[in-house]
């Protein structure tokens, strides 16, 4: 779709001026006029349609690998589908849903997902906020801290989980050794419910705190300096400046990180999978840290019930939509009140 440089002119309404015809002021011949008209039509077609051409690859691929599978998951969740024969689908209506809702392990996994989500997200974002505040000062070697804090983000789930399995080891793990050294009891990080959930959350916190701190820092640096100056002239202490200037300005960013972390937390899979000493998908011998993601995997790929796994996936999707709506309502309320 190349256009001749010297003749094509944008239509008047685009604000462009037609370049002078070749040959100076001589009136254009009829052939020349037709040629110009053709080029101008091609030009208009280009202006009108090329934006769609530019955005369509994204949408085509997204529909193929994001939207269609999501809808198809809903369809499959109404069927019995086995991993061994994924193309044989028998209609069963809502039975997959009633089956999983009757399954105690589903509710257990839902609860675990929620608690792991809370104990990983809340400290993570709170620490990220504090770190960002400190990083916002004038610092020596500030780039070094930023890069060092981002190093966990470059570490994969697999590598991080395996290291933390060792660090949290019951008998020879570093963390229990430290506890022992300061005179506390050793903790069975893999088999007790709350310790194991805290351990799994620690992996998540470790990987994502620095990343979130950078996002908060970026938002803090965009706050206009004069807001602080006028607050200071009004006699606000630094803490009050943080509460009354920094936090309100960061509200959208905080909401954004909460949404992203919530989505991430609802999907937690690799950490509990690899943290399991029994190397199964049950999230510990007593399912004490089995998340919904792990439960989905267990139903679909261990028990080979893809239909039921689809029902779990769609339930997770609906939960996320509800969380999204709640977030939207809260953010509107906050905006209205400010």
């Amino acid at each position: 779709m190349s256009t001749r440089h010297d003749t094509a002119a944008p239509p008047e309404k685009e604000g462009g001026a037609a370049p002078a015809a070749r040959g100076g002021s001589a009136p254009p011949t009829e052939a020349e006029a037709r040629r110009r008209l053709r080029l101008s039509r091609r030009w208009q077609r280009d202006v009108r349609w090329s934006p769609y051409a530019f955005v369509s690859p994204f949408f085509v691929l997204f529909i193929a690998f994001g939207l269609f599978p999501l809808i198809y998951t809903g369809w499959a969740s109404l069927h019995t589908v086995e991993l061994t024969a994924p193309t044989d689908m028998d209609w069963v209506g809502m039975r997959n849903y009633t089956r999983i809702f009757d399954d105690d392990f589903f509710w257990n996994a839902a609860k675990n997902t929620l608690t792991i989500g809370v104990i990983s997200t809340v400290p993570q974002l709170a620490m990220a906020m504090g770190l960002a505040h400190i990083l916002n000062y004038k610092l020596r070697a500030s780039t070094f801290y930023r890069v060092a804090m981002l190093a966990p983000y470059a570490t994969s789930i697999a590598a991080a989980s395996l290291v933390f399995v060792l660090l949290f080891g019951r008998d020879y793990g570093m963390i229990n050794w430290v506890l022992d050294a300061v005179g506390l009891d050793k903790i069975d990080w893999q088999n007790d419910k709350w310790p194991s959930q805290i351990a799994v959350s620690t992996i998540i916190i470790w990987r994502w705190t620095g990343y979130n701190a950078l996002i908060y820092l970026a938002a803090m640096q965009a706050i206009p300096q004069d807001l602080y100056e006028s607050a200071a002239l009004d006699g606000a202490s630094r803490w009050r400046q943080f509460i009354h200037v920094t936090l309100p300005s960061l509200r959208p960013t905080i909401l954004f990180t909460v949404v992203v972390s919530t989505i991430g937390a609802s999907q937690v899979f690799g950490e509990p999978l690899l943290f399991d000493a029994n190397k199964g998908a049950s999230g510990g011998a007593e399912h004490q840290f089995q998340t919904l993601g792990l439960y989905l995997y267990e139903q679909g790929w261990v028990n080979q019930h893809l239909g039921r796994a689809s029902a779990i996936a769609w339930t997770m999707f609906l939960i996320l939509i509800i969380i999204g709506i709640v977030n939207y309502v809260i953010s509107r309320r906050l905006r209205a009140s400010s």
Partner: protein
Amino acid sequence: MTTTLTKPPADAAPEPTKRSRLPKSARAGGTLHAGPIAYVILVLFTVGSLFPLVWTAIAASRDNNRLAQTPPPFWFGSNLFSNLKIAWNDANLGEAFFNTTFVAGVSAATVVILSTIAGFAFAKLRFRGRGALMLLVIGTMMVPPQLSVIPLYMMVAKLDWTDQLQAVILPSLVSAFGVFFMRQYLIQALPDEIIEAARVDGASSWRVVWHIVFPAARPAMAVLGMLTFVQTWNDFLWPFLVLTQTGNPTVQVAVAGLGRGYTPDQSLIMAGALLGTLPLLIVFSIFGKQIVGGIMQGAVKG
């Protein structure tokens, strides 16, 4: 609705001009020097961030028996290279590295190119439905890709692509975040006048993309490419489902396989984990500043 930073994030905020006339407390946020407590906290966090990585290397340099003793080792032993070699062979890491580099490279290149042209259209071109489509892009960021794994798995099984790299590559070719990131960058980095001038000169849309948008977007493309590469390199769930450790593993699948095998030689597992992390850590120590800047630039603010 959204904005990005106008200044390079790695720099500190600019000094206020009337500094001396203001009380000390006015100079918060980037202009005030940090006190000793701030440094203590930062050093603690830095140690916390780096310690597990350093300890991975320590554990990888010991033998299994030494790891099953108290106190755990705090310093390097002598087995590092032999452990690395065994882990490399056991986990098929040579092939895994090749596979992961290929997958992450193809996906990063495609994401960058598609995101740049789509981001350009959303940033600078007027067309019917632009606002609605952009909302749709942002909306798709909220849809976790993991919820689509079951039909994708069925598709892959039907196409007989299990253990094939294209099964991993195809779903990672687009990124809503990428489109958004490039749009935010191009709104600022690409003056309308340049595009208009090119238009007046008669350049078609494709020429504008090729000769103006791509050169202008190059810094953001590099950052987005690195971010996508890191993400694809570390991706776990989907490769874990479609690839096996024996046929075309990615690094993550291979490393996870080490941990899930029934050879509980922890020093070898740590050696594998170290090998799987090392390439990205090297990239990070070289391009860390740019990656930090990129993440901060992509930070969403409403």
